[in-house]
Amino acid sequence: MKIENARAQMRKGTLDMCILSIISKEEIYPSDIIKKLKKSEMIVVEGTMYPLLTRLKNAGMLDYSWRESKSGPPRKYYRLTKKGAKYLEELRESWKAIVKSVSTF
């Protein structure tokens, strides 16, 4: 039993919610999402996020548009769809319920 394994499992379970939360605040570029996730130690390796973004987009939770960039090629900016916003709300409810249940023990 290693604490690091348990942490990894917890991060994995909540990563979707964190990504959706970050995107719900503003239209955002993936590299900036990574910066935020890394700052709060939610991801260890960056590559994990890209399949997640594409899966969420394919599931209709996210949408993106291309924007010109000053320093390079155009960048993808993600935003939440209505479906995504609803899903995030449900995720937050479940999270609150879990935290509440866990803290009663």
Partner: protein, 248 residues
Amino acid sequence: MNQTMHINLGGYSFVMDIDAYDLLDEYITSLERHFLHEEGATEILSDIEARMAELFREKLKGSEIVTKKIVSSTIHQMGDASFFEDEHTHEEVLDDRSAGISAGKRLYRDPEDKILGGVCSGIAQYFGVEDPLWIRLFFVVLNIAGGSSFVLYVLLWIIVPIAKTRSERLAMRGEPINIDSIVRSVQDELDDIQDSLSSLKQKVKEEMDFDELNDFHEIKDVFKRYKKKVKNNRSCWCPWDTFRSYPK
């Protein structure tokens, strides 16, 4: 001195050392394999490439050439293919590595150890027979005994793909495809090249008499001067770009 090449990654152009390019190519191939059956694989890969390009630019800090060090630190930051499914901890990945050795094993023809098509050595690799000679003997004996092993051989030659890329060769040997194994196999290949170069040097030294050796040094000087010129003038055609194993 190192040879370099130009690449386009995520919409940026980079000048890379050859060994850095090999490592990057191998990494991207391993990701392609990993996402082969994933919906939106192309999109995931192009996102990852764009991010890597960004990291290269950050790490270059004004220098011009992407080195192997930059590539491997970027790869460590992105994570190797085994990380992508779920975010394991490092210990778990290590466990998978020793436990799952034969999990991804596939039958390929071995281009590095072949007499005809590399079928027998490929089979030997697949079943973990140390010396492909036994498989070869088996085929020959079966043929003499009246079996149709020759037809079988030709059929296998046609059906079984040859292990062309480094990740295919790793899959052939049943080694997991991750950064460590890729780096190791690149290193092995470089060592091989180094060995054959130094033996060539030795041979040249032995076979040339003194006068010829002087000529040789003169030629080398001319090359050196030309190289300097090329360095100062990048648009100049560089004949050894086409000869990747030109000695240092």
